[in-house]
Amino acid sequence: MQRVLSLWPASWGRQQRSTATMITAGVVILLVLWLMAKPLSYAPEPIGPNAQAFAEGTRVTVELTVIAGVAGLFLGVLAALGKISRVPPLRWVASLYVWIFRGTPLLLQVLFVFFALPEIIPKLKLDEFSAAALALGLNVGAYNAEAIRAGLLAVPKGQIEAARSLGLSRWYTFVDITFPQAFKISLPPLVNNIVSLLKDSSLAYVIGVVEVSLVSTRIQAATFQPVPCYVTTGCIYLLMTTLMTQISNAVERRFDHEGKLA
């Protein structure tokens, strides 16, 4: 699967091929989400008759991942900036956040946001999906913070000195010089976190979000056929993570301006 890039015409440049891979994998994900009920419905019992439920569960899983992933990216950047800030209270807040969400089980966080948070702040009475998305976003954000912080610290000091000595303000130095380089360094661990997020979104089942894992458990309970149910679910996760990895590999190549990748 790593060789998808070599499927493109040899005359295309590295960037064109990477872009083509990104677009193709993105389109395949959308097509799978849209159309997967169709091929699944031809599968034998107990999958065929429940194809629609599997398709809907998969859509919920991907929605959870995308929403929590985007939130986690923002939170990660904010928390990383907080952690390297020169203002002590910002550092404390960011460190406390990362400490709590990396130091407690995700399952507990999901349960806490859904059941306990409304007791503390009545306004935050969320539906199952929103509570799961919030907990997942907060969790992945804490892990992203460390990945992004490591990337920011890995940008050589000389780069910042060069930017500042050209008269670039601190804002432009960050936006034009530090962040693009840090992002590239952080990309592999960030992708790792997103792939984990896709799989961890299955924990949303404990508060009753009907994502693909819960779908398979329910069908399994009704049909007493665990093997086909769980194999199907496993295949759906594998397909999703594989497509996501293809996109991220392509993104890495797209931004590989230093020719470090073979």
Partner: protein, 250 residues
């Protein structure tokens, strides 16, 4: 645009002190640099020459004393700093080109962001500067595709794009293979001839002798001698400096 006439002080340094922990790296350094002048700073490693250069645009803070560049006091005021750094260009030993940008974007970035130059104008100016340093044909490459000497020439063009009043060179050829030193020194000579104010920290004695208007010799955090190159190299009385020159040249 110049408030300072050629030959009068563009930069004044008054009783500047700097400590790194227990090390006293600049001791009451007082000097000045004139507009249009090429000052070459030499001395042993750790004598404070690079540190002085870096205090001039506040990449290094000084503990006491005053530095005034073209009427701007060098201090922690961010407005002063951005203003100062737009007027003072710097070329580094390690080039420090931005690896994620093309050669052209490396050169146009600062004028577009700081001077708010329009994209097309910045591009035209950048290509002209790249032509001047012999790098126009490489404008669309990324830095990793260039040799060290080529990268350093791009770095010089990048500094020039801000049209600085003075260019600081911090050992610009020390990280280069011997065969690339000449191409960079040639660009620097050409700049000096065009009247650019330059302060150069270097170990290239041939360049110092040929291009320098003044040689400043640093020793243990002090300027031990400040002399024209003919007197400095031709008729050196100080035994320590003679010993240093002997080491460097052989």
């Amino acid at each position: 645009m110049s408030a300072v006439a050629p030959g009068s002080p563009l930069i004044t340094v008054q009783k500047v002190n700097k400590h790194f922990g227990p090390a006293h790296v600049l001791k009451d350094v007082t000097t000045h640099f004139n507009a249009g002048e090429v000052a070459v700073i030499i001395g042993a490693s750790g004598s404070g020459k690079s540190t002085l250069l870096r205090t001039l645009n506040r990449l290094e803070t000084h503990d006491s004393g005053t530095i005034i560049v073209d009427g701007i006091t060098v201090d922690d005021n961010h407005k002063h700093l951005d203003q100062l750094r737009a007027e003072v260009g710097m070329v580094f030993q390690q080039f420090n080109l931005f690896p994620h940008l093309t050669v052209l974007d490396n050169v146009t970035l600062a004028p577009r962001r700081v001077r708010k130059t329009a994209r097309e104008a910045a591009r035209a100016q950048a290509l002209e500067l790249l032509d001047r340093v012999g790098m126009k044909a490489h404008a669309h490459k990324h830095p990793f595709q260039l040799s060290g000497g080529q990268q350093q020439r791009v770095a010089i063009a990048r500094s020039l794009a801000m049209q600085p009043r003075v260019l600081l060179f911090d050992e610009p050829t020390s990280a280069l293979d011997p065969e690339m030193v000449k191409e960079v020194l040639d660009v620097m000579k050409q700049l000096a001839t065009s009247g650019m104010t330059m302060i150069v920290v270097t170990h290239e004695m041939g360049f110092a002798r040929e291009v320098g208007d003044r040689i400043l010799f640093f020793d243990k955090g002090c300027i031990a001698q400040d002399a024209p190159p003919d007197a400095f190299f031709g008729n050196q009385q100080d035994p320590r400096i003679r010993a240093f020159l002997g080491h460097i040249q052989h």
